[in-house]
Symmetry: C2
Subunit: 357 residues, 2 copies
């Protein structure tokens, strides 16, 4: 059990200062109070400050998203939400849900039963039972990386895909690339769709031709790259933007297995900036998503919606983190197919012939 003393020692301040921060004392700076509240949440401090008779509890429903350990995708999203909610004096209930749970508990009833004021939905899939109830939801509800039209009670939070894809495409153009492929996640995901739209708009903006065989929906898993990267290389792609970092890692491995060097022969860009992205060899250039910021944005969006502001979209600014998986484009000789015993392989002749530039 985390105590005020633990928080104080972690921050290097007196326990009385932490106590003031937690209890709204007036003679400490806003900045310090913020640091105390954030650290308290991060360390799992159990608040006892809720003395109100009124219910002020928000639900965070979570599915298909690992969040229990610091290196898991959902961890910082949940942390950011908790921190912002704690500063705003809201209690939260974190409720892992399955499709079966959703079938057994209609959302409107569950909200009433638990006295929740509003809900945040993390990791939901479009085919989830509760998503089918979004058109008629009566409580402020925020969806991460999903969007529901029309209903003013449902808002959406995410990283701005169009700005992200524009950052990735222009970075590659600055490096001299023109044959830029996009290997996206699942065709049935809202967020894949947004990223594909962003890619197409950005290519068009820069007057680069769009080849349907270089703009492909796959899946958000490493293995999916192997089905599509050979074809992209065959068509002369010198750069591949990927829908997430796992796909990018798969793409890089696939390039190598076919004799292409990354980034010398092919530049690769990921998306998300998961911890693995910086550790991969070469470290991945990727679109950074601010996970703590996403969690906080979910809270602030709900907070505004509770004050009758019908936000339908709150988008965070992406950041392109340039590492070593992107490099200037070099002229590529035509690749040739080599039949192997179990699959079709592609060999880059540039490895064998000196390229004159």
């Amino acid at each position: 059990m985390v105590t005020i003393k633990d928080i104080a020692s972690e921050l290097g301040v007196a326990a009385s200062t932490v106590s003031k921060g937690l209890n709204g004392g007036s003679d400490i700076s806003e900045q310090l109070r913020t640091a105390i509240l954030e650290k308290a949440v991060e360390m799992g401090y159990e608040s006892k400050r809720s003395k109100k008779t009124e219910t002020r509890t928000l639900a965070v429903f979570i599915e298909n998203m690992e969040y229990e350990k610091p290196d898991q995708f959902g961890y910082n999203i949940v942390l950011g939400f908790r921190q912002a909610a704690f500063k705003g004096s809201w209690d939260i209930d974190l409720v892992p849900i399955t499709p079966e749970f959703q079938k057994d508990h209609p959302l409107p009833l569950y909200m009433v039963e638990k006295h929740y004021s509003a809900a945040c939905m993390l990791g939901m899939a479009l085919e989830d039972p509760w998503m089918g109830q979004m058109d008629t939801v009566q409580y402020p509800t925020v969806l991460l990386d999903n969007f529901i039209p029309v209903n003013p009670m449902v808002g959406s939070v995410g990283t701005d895909s169009s700005e992200a894809m524009e950052m990735a495409v222009s970075h590659l153009i600055e490096l001299g690339h023109e044959k830029i492929a996009f290997l996206d996640g699942s065709a049935h995901s809202y967020i894949s769709d947004q990223r594909m739209k962003g890619y197409l708009a950005s290519m068009k903006k820069h007057h680069l031709p769009i080849d349907p065989n270089l703009a492909i929906y796959a899946y958000f898993v490493e293995d999916a790259a192997h089905h599509h990267v050979p074809g992209m290389l065959d068509l002369g792609a010198t750069a591949i933007i990927c829908g997430n970092d796992l796909l990018a890692i798969g793409a890089a491995k696939c390039c190598r297995s076919l004799g292409f060097r990354v980034p010398e022969d092919v530049s690769i860009i990921g998306y998300d900036d998961i911890p693995l992205a910086a550790k991969f060899d070469p470290p991945l250039t990727t679109i950074h998503q601010d996970l703590i910021g996403l969690g906080r944005a979910c809270f602030y969006t709900l907070h505004a919606m509770l004050d009758d502001v019908n936000l339908n979209r709150s988008m965070l600014r992406p950041k392109l983190v340039v590492r070593r998986s992107t490099a200037p484009a070099v002229p590529r000789l035509v690749t040739k197919r080599v039949e192997s015993h179990d699959s079709v392989l592609y060999v880059n002749p540039a490895l064998y012939t000196q390229v004159a530039d």
Copy 2:
């Protein structure tokens, strides 16, 4: 000078209750406290509750936007901002600015000089001197109806144009219209551009052909309609969506002067839902913008940005208000030109010939 007693009598509660609401007393409901704070701001109550030593002041810079009287466009935006800021215990300075003022006072210096923590910009034009400084702004800054790429310190608030245009276009399609024109505001405005993109995307989504002569940038004033509406009617448009309500009023008047009835011959949709829209004959079907909500969203976006959440876009959900300026499409006979003494007029033969349907 507004007193606590004034607020109490306006709300029909005791002065002691208002006092509790204003001073954070714990034995009143959150709902009542909210109502008290909102009413106090609406009535212009001068807060004396700020006893903090730290500066917590936000700047609201305003240009090209009338806001002093309740029926002016900016009034409710400013009111919404003030209400949300007051509930969040922030002071605000409302600062009307001109281009000359901006030239004389570089934004970064002005922010430091006045000890502002963050700024909200209302009514700025792209060519304003301060807009040129947005790329390097270091304080959280929010722009209404404008967008600046890349800089994480600058966020954008507005009504979602793509959803708005989709609502307008699908409403007309449900009424049987296919030749749907869009008469937009200035080509050099970010918001016109967003609305045009929304119109084009929505037409495409519904597989309606796009005629460049039916998708026209004009200006956000009533008179601009007269230059473009005749040509649109000549091309067979049975419905005209307009970039704002003034243009819609101009379009309706123009249709009538040419012998077309609204909505029997031509349906018209406006944008904004200014007070005039409901009073016009026929009352305008229009896209409602929640002005109080926009003002509040500006505050909440800044509030999140002050907590290190780099929001680049916070979009409000639009609402289509269906009044009497839209009606089912009727087959239109070909119009013919009639030369008049001072301009080219168009006469709708439907007024003279019985249309068989």
